[in-house]
Symmetry: C2
Subunit: 200 residues, 2 copies
């Protein structure tokens, strides 16, 4: 279909464009990354970043704002092999329609945010993951402006990942990277249940 | 703002809806999951699923179709702590605009697909990740129809994740789950370079 020489020429042009783009991007900084949207892959992408980070020997902190200590998911079991590097705090009370107690949800969210702030202030961490922080913002368990101010005031080389649906506009405005996971097709719609190893 | 009783009633209704949805989804099956789109988080979400899987003690296979053995990314270093469970084969030759040699790219893609098929046929694996398989389909290094037939013919309880941009329609048609990662904001656009621990 394609003759080898024209392929090589096309790819050489492609490489020149790519190299120029790479040369233009020179800044380094700690990123505020937001994984939002209704699709699967927001928390798992944060877990993948944790795996990448610990491979570089980075200490990592994670606070889970919604998940509760009940059923222990696979990723927490796996992360025990990195107990030297990863500190994961499960500080939620479960989904708010499970607790049905707003005062308790607010108090859990505040305690989790206090822990998150302490982690961000701890110089040894290179990456802090705030899992499902957007949910507690969505329900106004924490003030968005306080949280965005806290995230923005972090030290310049600290990477932070925030996950969850419905990320508020103020948070998106402060982010360096936003990925929206869109559910184009989801097995739940086809009557397939949440399966071990895939959802938890 | 919200009185506790009406909050509790609202959340009780929400829980009833949620419980009904969960009850309706009863099937279990090995999923074909596709992470596509132009945003960050496709490979990292697959890595997160690997972390979840190994936490359940599942053996996992991964074939990387584009990445080459040159620079060793953090995740591969980290996965060495799961050498008892994870078999990762880095079988690419780098981006096609780096090799500029179509025949070599095709031969690498074919070798990687042969390895992928052998992994899918290996009963001990519960999850197989085919990283950036879509790229070799995009460039027609492999025939889409052959690959989709191979994926569809896998045993019913095997989960497979395929990652990469430009997933072809035939692959999307065969998938149980499709997440499209959309880059709403990307630091590269703001002149921030690909950083260690974040991109590799």
């Amino acid at each position: 279909m394609t003759d080898p020489e024209s392929w090589a020429r096309k790819m050489a042009r492609r490489k020149a464009v790519q190299d120029a783009k790479m040369a233009a991007a020179t800044a380094e900084k700690g990123l505020l990354m937001v994984h939002t949207g209704n699709g699967k892959g927001k928390t798992t992408a944060a877990l993948g970043l944790i795996l990448r980070a610990v491979g570089h020997g980075w200490p990592v902190g994670m606070v889970q704002f919604i998940k509760s200590g009940g059923r222990r998911p696979g990723e927490l079991v796996a992360l025990e092999r990195f107990a030297d590097l990863v500190d994961c705090r499960v500080m939620g009370e479960g989904f708010t329609w499970e607790t049905q107690d707003r005062a308790r949800d607010i108090s859990a969210a505040q305690a989790a945010w206090t822990t998150a702030q302490a982690m961000m202030a701890e110089p040894r961490y290179r990456l802090v993951v705030l899992d499902e922080l957007t949910i507690v913002l969505r329900y106004r368990f924490l003030a968005v402006s306080d949280v965005v101010a806290g995230l923005t005031a972090r030290r310049p080389d600290l990477h932070v990942v925030v996950t969850g649906r419905h990320a508020p506009p103020e948070l998106l405005g402060a982010a360096d990277l936003i990925t929206e996971a869109q559910a184009v097709k989801h097995p739940f719609q086809a009557g397939i249940k949440a399966q071990v190893g895939i959802e938890f």
